[in-house]
């Protein structure tokens, strides 16, 4: 214990004595770890089921249009047919309909463009939205709305519940606030305000149909869900005399859609590659910086060995400085990551009233833990190899005729 404290004290002193080096090291590490945390967090959002949309593996969204055998576009399922269609579907456990519009929202004396979702009230339940306060809207006489936390913070500082806003000349009362989520969790949901579909004035005049989010029983295998849907759709259109062509892409599960639209395309691979490069550059810089510093300390290490330090003690003293600096960089990254996320978010999206890639991202425990392990590993690798070589040098040869 005493030895460990001594190591820490010596490491701190040594770091303090070389402020420029330490600053570079810490800042470089902070940048690298911030990027790593971002990368891991986004990867985790695409890969796993974070609320909402925890049922991504057994939820299928049917779009508002399909194509027939001639490749011509045909309308989706007609609104009045939806309920019957889903009820007849084997394995279906629930559904919601949704239609997203970019429209003007009058709230708290200001006008904003925002993504508004006209949905059935089941939408919150089947997608397991995370309510910060309030509740889902009901199909009551009074029009009600659910909004995201960030939209609430922007529009209604203080308590947003009970506040009024106007969309398409209908006045809504805010009854619920849900946690922000990321575009990565569901590429189809960009909405920050949800109201009941029955107030939707865009429909049916625009001739568009609703998208249908169908939740299947967990026990139903994915390909069975998709086969059932294909079959039901083919029959539905057959009854109308249309020869529909349902493709694999029309019946993707949410999880498959995430991979296809978020995790899989060229842009995202490019972004990941650039991010990795960005991490690699400071990492390599610091590696050279720290090996140069360690090699420069060879005589000092030889002196300590002459005074009785074992190889392991010498190694430990060198490496503890790297570990200390790396850990400080890690802590800074933990502090930086939130402001960085909101900065990137602001740069990427001019309109903040829609869900973006990074909205709702929060620091995850497992991501922090993995990054911590990476930080320690990095310190060991960057300092460890030169430290090992220095600690094993011949003392006499190192001390000969060299001045410190």
């Amino acid at each position: 214990m005493k030895m460990v404290l001594t190591y820490i004290r010596n490491a701190a002193r040594s770091a303090w004595n070389d402020k420029l080096y330490s600053t570079f090291y810490i800042l470089g590490m902070a940048v690298a770890f911030t990027l790593i945390i971002l990368l891991l967090t986004t990867a985790k959002l695409v890969r796993s089921d974070a609320r909402p949309f925890v049922n991504a593996e057994n939820e299928i969204r049917l779009g508002a249009w399909f194509t027939d055998k001639n490749g011509d576009e045909i309308d989706g399922i007609e609104t009045q047919d939806i309920e019957r269609f889903v009820l007849a579907l084997p394995g279906a456990a629930g559904y919601s309909i949704s239609n997203t519009e970019e429209t003007l929202v009058f709230a708290n004396g200001r006008v904003r463009m925002a993504s508004v979702g006209f949905v059935s009230s089941s939408h919150f339940e089947i997608n397991e939205f995370d309510f910060v306060s309030g509740r889902p809207f009901t199909e009551d006489a009074i029009p009600q709305a659910v909004i995201t936390k960030s939209f609430a913070d922007r529009s209604f500082p203080g308590d947003p519940l009970g506040k009024k806003m106007t969309i398409q000349e209908t006045e809504y009362t805010v009854v619920g606030v849900v946690q922000d989520f990321s575009f990565l969790q569901n590429p189809f949901e960009k909405v920050v305000i949800w109201v009941s579909d029955r107030y939707n004035k865009f429909m049916p005049s625009y001739g568009e149909c609703y998208s249908i989010n169908i939740l299947f029983d967990k026990k139903v295998p994915v390909n069975e869900m998709q086969e059932n849907l294909k079959h039901a759709l083919t029959q539905y259109y057959q009854a109308k005399g249309i020869d529909v062509d349902i493709r694999k892409d029309d019946v993707l599960t949410l999880q498959e859609a995430k991979f296809k639209y978020v995790g899989g395309n060229m842009f995202n691979y490019g972004a990941v590659a650039i991010l990795l490069l960005l991490i690699l550059i400071p990492a390599l810089n610091i590696m050279t910086l720290s090996s140069a510093k360690v090699y420069a300390s060879a005589t000092e290490v030889a002196i300590k060995r002459a005074l009785g330090a074992t190889k392991w003690q010498a190694f430990g003293q060198i490496i503890s400085e790297n570990v200390l600096l790396s850990l400080i960089g890690y802590v800074l990254a933990l502090i930086f990551v939130r402001p960085v996320i909101s900065l990137i978010d602001r740069l990427l999206y001019t309109s903040r009233n829609a869900v973006s890639v990074l909205s709702g991202i929060s620091l995850d425990f497992s991501v922090s833990a993995v990054t911590l392990i990476l930080a320690l590993l990095f310190a060991l690798v960057s300092g460890g190899i030169p430290a090992y070589r220095i600690a094993n040098k011949n003392i006499a040869a190192e001390l000969k005729g060299r001045d410190l």
Binding site: A306, A309, Q313, N394, A396
Partner: protein, 229 residues
């Protein structure tokens, strides 16, 4: 207390082999003041490094206080260096980022004695007062004269209560007056019972030792023991 038997040290580089030590045997008894003289390159430093276990011989046995050190592990050798030897170098080898007091305390960091830091501090202060650096403790090596640096190095060498001081040209970087002061300090420590082995080019200083060793070409050519007891 130090017994060298038939020590060879060969430095092999790509092309040539240098026989730095060519069958050296030497006994150093407790309380001796041994001086080692000889022309440049004859192997004096190599001999001293091997005695202090900063380097290993190619062949031959070393016994320190009766123990053969030939098969010792790194940990045992480190302990040996820490507890038995105090090193003094021509170029002082103080650590520039530490002040004199911290430099002097350094050996205790690796010591098995495990003194509380207060006692380490007290011991360091009293040794530094003894070598005449009582008023310079918070200075850094760069702020001191060569003579003062060498005093600090001697204080550091004394810190862990070693059994032998090994000094490689301790006065080599100093003018004659400061060299004299350092020599007097070493003589004083020897008079108090410390065993000293010193390499020097200064014949006058060498003559003050109780055992005068002369080397040439990797061999000991002459050992003169003074009659004074």
């Amino acid at each position: 207390m130090i017994e060298l038997e038939n020590i060879y040290k060969v430095f092999s580089t790509d092309e040539i082999e240098t026989f730095a030590l060519n069958g050296v045997s030497l006994h150093v008894r407790k309380g001796d003041f041994v001086s080692i003289m000889g022309p440049s390159g004859c192997g004096k430093s190599t001999l001293l490094n091997i005695i202090g276990h900063l380097d290993t011989p190619t062949k031959g046995t070393i016994r320190i206080e009766g123990t053969d050190t030939g098969h010792m592990t790194d940990k045992e050798l480190s302990r040996l260096r820490n507890e038995k030897f105090g090193f003094i170098f021509q170029s002082f080898h103080l650590i520039p980022s530490l002040n004199i007091l911290q430099n002097v305390e350094l050996p205790m960091l690796y010591s098995r004695e495990n003194l509380p830091s207060k006692e380490v501090r007290e011991r360091a202060v009293s040794i530094m007062e003894k070598v005449g650096l009582g008023s310079r403790m918070k200075h850094f090596p760069s702020q001191l004269s060569g003579g003062q640096c060498q005093r600090a190095a001697i204080a550091r060498a004394m810190m862990a209560h070693p059994h032998v001081l090994l000094a490689d040209e301790p006065t080599g970087n100093l003018d004659s007056r400061m060299g004299r002061e350092i020599m007097d300090l070493l003589l004083e420590l020897n008079a108090e019972g410390m065993t000293v082995v010193m390499v020097t080019h200064d014949a006058a200083l060498a003559a003050e030792a109780s055992v005068m060793v002369t080397m040439n070409d990797g061999k000991i050519t002459d050992v003169i023991k003074e009659a004074k007891q």
